[in-house]
């Protein structure tokens, strides 16, 4: 058997296969199976879920199986690997057999993905990811068979991006399921999936997806560059990636769109964006993002355009509303009483008559309580969830007003602004609106309408300067793009948009 030649060959293949991930100080495994066993038992010291199984066949050669219990499909191992070996023995005399490995790989294994590796560190990683490692005595390579099988969550309905008409699929925690979902929508070889691993401890699989020919090369290169620069120990969620590659950490606005919907993600791909999928996170990251992406809902594209155009405007108005409504109330009642219609002003005056706090403090108190309610609502177990709404509605709404602690208009204003911030289809895009409310409220309390104007000017200056992977955040409004505006101001019928 020409072991040496085989070894050289396999080294070459393993090197070319794992150019990116191969560590520099690679340590090859030994040819002696006992030594190998010792080596790996040392590595997996105190890891009770790592299984070692020795196999003797005709008391000739010893095979060693190493795998993580629970991550491999034991049935495949038994029926496809063990049984034939144990019952039939090694095939003999078929000619051209160079090593037992080859036999196993070519004749015995009805497993799709196999790999030959000799580097200890690499083998360790593959074992930990659910591969079965097979060591053959006397051979310097380990055969790794992909027999992964572990419990995952099934594809469920999207929970944060519900839609009435669109598809009801959402991503899961499993990267392969997610790429499959996208591949199923975009049936084209131009859909590319680049993989890399990030995180020193977690070695999380990241997939960068794009459509060749449509994707903006500069964005793609920038994504690759920024991903490579990530130097952290763990990537547990797509948010880790988002934070590591976003343009401006201190902007209240998210610069990377996240979505748990394959259809939204694939529409992003088709628009020439780059999608980053993270193993373990049911959210995809879509770059670059614009301001308007945050205000577009999935149903916008499934419903008829006239209605959607109307709803979009409702959304735009409510978005502005959610930022400045409390501030406008403060400014008008404290500084510009003549601007409020007389009857309304008198009503407000009546209701404010017994309020102990200044308007600004009142609104702040209420907003603060509202944020608290919102946060409590997310964390509470489902069984006591209704409690929050009862406490919120009765105690804070009703009782605070009738006790004269908070005036009724403030309750109305704060809840209206709260509802307005929920109208934003992307949950994370509602955060900037919620945050910006406070500084603008202070400005309104100190300077009145002029303060609000300055606050809005400041936000607009920031938005115009903000860029997401090189794309101005307010595209296509600023810089203006007539073609793009048809999908912002309206939701012009697709055919006509394509006509230009």
């Amino acid at each position: 058997m020409d072991i040496h030649g085989k070894q050289k060959l396999s080294k070459k293949t393993s090197q070319s296969n794992n150019k990116h991930t191969a560590p520099k100080n690679s340590q090859p495994i030994s040819k002696n199976i006992i030594e190998n066993e010792h080596l790996f038992k040392n590595i997996f010291n105190n890891c009770s879920d790592i299984m070692f199984r020795e196999v003797k066949i005709h008391s000739q050669v010893i095979l060693l199986f190493i795998y993580v219990d629970g991550m491999v499909d034991t049935e495949i191992i038994t029926t496809n690997v063990l049984e034939p070996l144990l019952y039939d023995g090694l095939p003999q005399g078929l000619g051209g057999i160079e090593s037992l490995e080859q036999v196993l790989e070519q004749e015995r294994f009805s497993v799709l993905q196999t790999k030959k590796l000799s580097d200890v560190e690499e083998i360790t990683e593959y074992i930990l990811k659910g591969n079965l490692a097979i060591f053959v005595d006397g051979e310097g390579n380990a055969l790794l068979a992909d027999v992964k099988k572990f419990e995952t969550r099934s594809i469920e309905e999207p929970s944060t991006e519900a839609s009435l008409r669109g598809s009801k699929e959402s991503f899961t925690e499993n990267l392969r399921t997610n790429t499959m979902l996208l591949r199923r929508i975009i049936v084209s070889p131009k859909l590319k999936v680049e993989s890399l691993k990030i995180g020193k401890m977690t070695k999380t699989d990241i997939a960068v997806m794009y459509i060749e020919g449509i994707v903006s090369i500069s964005v793609l290169n920038e994504v690759r560059k920024r991903l490579k620069q990530i130097q952290i120990d763990e990537i547990l969620e797509s948010g880790y990636v988002e934070e590591s590659i976003e343009d401006n950490h201190f902007s209240p606005f998210p610069q990377i769109l996240n979505s748990e919907r394959p259809d939204v993600t694939s529409s992003g791909l088709l628009e020439g964006k780059v999608v980053i999928l993270t193993n373990g996170s049911p959210y995809s990251l879509i770059v670059p993002m614009t301001f308007w992406n945050g205000l577009q809902a999935t149903d916008d594209y499934s419903e008829r355009f006239l209605f959607v155009t109307m709803i979009r405007w409702v959304r735009y108005i409510f978005t502005i509303f959610s930022i400045i409504f409390p501030s406008i109330y403060i400014a008008l009642t404290n500084y510009h009483q003549e601007m409020v219609p007389p009857d309304l002003m008198l009503n407000i005056a009546v209701l404010r008559e017994r309020s102990p706090f200044p308007t600004l403090i009142e609104v702040f108190l209420m907003e603060f309580m509202f944020e608290g309610l919102q946060e409590a609502g997310i964390r509470l177990p489902k069984q006591i969830g209704p409690l929050v709404s009862i406490v919120g509605a009765l105690v804070i709404g009703e009782a605070a007003v009738s006790a004269g602690i908070i005036s009724a208009p403030v309750v109305i204003i704060v809840s209206a602004a709260g509802i307005a911030s929920f109208i934003i289809p992307r949950y994370s895009f509602g955060f900037p609106m919620r945050m910006l409310r406070y500084p603008i409220m202070i400005l309104a309390g100190v300077f009145g309408l002029f303060g609000i104007a300055v606050g809005i000017i400041a936000v607009l200056i920031h938005l115009i300067n903000l860029k997401s992977f090189g794309t101005p955040y307010l595209t296509p409004v600023s810089p203006r793009n007539k073609h793009g505006l048809k999908d912002v101001l309206l939701r012009w019928p697709r055919e006509r948009v394509n006509k230009g």
Partner: protein, 402 residues
């Protein structure tokens, strides 16, 4: 969205530039805030419960000739508002008066009676006492209406034979405050509301004299809409005379300020009265120069429906309807002609705004005559042409009692 167009290659330098920009934005905002401090700030802050909103405001002279200001102040604690219903009921408003050497002094004196800051921004009604009007309101009213906080959209009335205080003290019929009733009154009777702003415009204009609506107190201790008052702006906006209700309607028609009116007339041929509710009024003034004399050709038109008919005419017949229309037109035309003559002879005040039409149509001639326009107005030759159209009355054509 076409992303490629906007993607820049030098992303890194872009990032550095972005950081610099953020710093510059920060500076910009600080500068903006500093500028803000010079214009406004918390020292201007007034909570609604630090303000005394007044919805009505009156000016008059006392018997010994002192200027007296009256305000109708809203007392929020007295108004409904479910949550404060407990305890003794307060009145929803208070009427406060004070005298002073001038308007500001009087308001300062009112302020000294109140624990809250007077706030005129929500004034609905501005009342002028007759005694003050007799003396001329030009000087008095000016600082008042031009105060930056003053609401020029408040309606202006002259109080005839009463004091503004008495009008404000009337217990309103429908509304919370009498001022609300007064501000709805003109719309209800079909005249476009006469705002303080329009009064100011009339006074500042070259060719029109103000015609101010009048309210008076009736024996049931309620107010009455009582025609309108004619002022002479050339003489410190002094009150010169009154028009009664009917005359007010005609005058407003000529002024193009009428929105609906019910006309009732005795028809000789039909031996009974007929009432017609008119709407969509139109006015057209044509100025002609005949022998260096200015002739005004006034065309008035209105459309309406017959609402009451005690004549023996049948409006559903074309002949009878024409007869009714002709008769009404004739009566109206005569009445308006008579009224214009009366105003020309008695008051010599161009309340109709003919001067403005002359100004527009003969701007050159206007320059020579505008200085003594009142004289020219009294000599004007005005021809009136009324065109009334009755809609088909349908089934409501004659009385059920034969």
């Amino acid at each position: 969205m076409d992303l490629k167009t906007y993607c820049c290659d030098g992303l890194e330098s872009e990032l550095i530039r972005g950081e610099l920009l953020m710093k510059r934005i920060g500076r910009c905002i600080i500068v903006l805030l500093l500028i803000l401090f010079s214009t406004t700030g918390c020292w201007n802050l007034k909570e609604p419960n630090q303000l005394a909103f007044f919805t009505g405001n009156g000016l008059d002279l006392t018997e010994d000739g002192k200027l007296e200001a009256t305000v109708l102040i809203v007392t929020p604690a007295g108004i409904g508002g479910g949550q404060f219903s407990s305890g003794d009921k307060k009145k929803g408003y208070q009427v406060v008066s004070a005298t002073g050497k001038n308007v500001s002094d009087a308001i300062t004196n009112i302020q000294s009676k109140l624990s809250r800051h007077v706030f005129p921004g929500h004034r609905d009604i501005f009342l002028v006492g007759q005694r003050l009007a007799d003396q001329g309101i030009g000087e008095t009213i000016d600082p008042f209406l031009r105060n930056a906080h003053s609401d020029l959209r408040s309606l202006i009335y002259l109080v005839k034979d009463a004091k503004p205080e008495e009008i404000f003290s009337i217990e309103p019929f429908f509304d919370q405050f009498i001022t609300t009733s007064l501000s709805d009154e003109q719309t209800a009777i079909g005249i476009k509301p006469y705002l303080a702003r329009e009064f100011v415009i009339d006074v500042l204009s070259e060719g029109t004299q103000p015609l101010m609506p009048v309210v008076s107190l009736n024996p049931q201790n309620h107010y009455n809409f009582d025609g309108s008052a004619i002022f002479n702006k050339e003489d410190n906006v002094k009150l010169v005379g009154f028009l009664n209700k009917k005359e007010t309607f005609y005058a407003n028609w000529v002024k193009d300020r009428l929105s609906s009116h019910t006309l009732t007339s005795f028809i000789n041929q039909g031996d009974g009265t007929i009432s017609i509710t008119l709407g969509s009024f139109k006015r057209h003034i044509t100025v002609k120069e005949v022998d260096e004399e200015i002739h005004i050709d006034l065309r008035l038109s209105g459309k309406g429906t017959i609402i009451e008919n005690s004549t023996n005419l049948d409006p559903s017949k074309g002949v009878d309807l024409k007869l009714i229309e002709d008769e009404l037109e004739k009566i109206t035309q005569k009445a308006i002609e008579k009224q214009i003559k009366m105003v020309q002879k008695k008051y010599k005040m161009d309340i109709y705004g003919f001067g403005e039409s002359v100004h527009q149509q003969y701007p050159k001639q206007w320059k020579t005559i505008k200085h003594n326009w009142s004289e020219h107005f009294s000599q004007l030759h005005v021809s009136v042409n009324v065109d009334l159209t009755c809609n088909n009355p349908g089934q409501a054509n004659w009385s059920i009692y034969p």
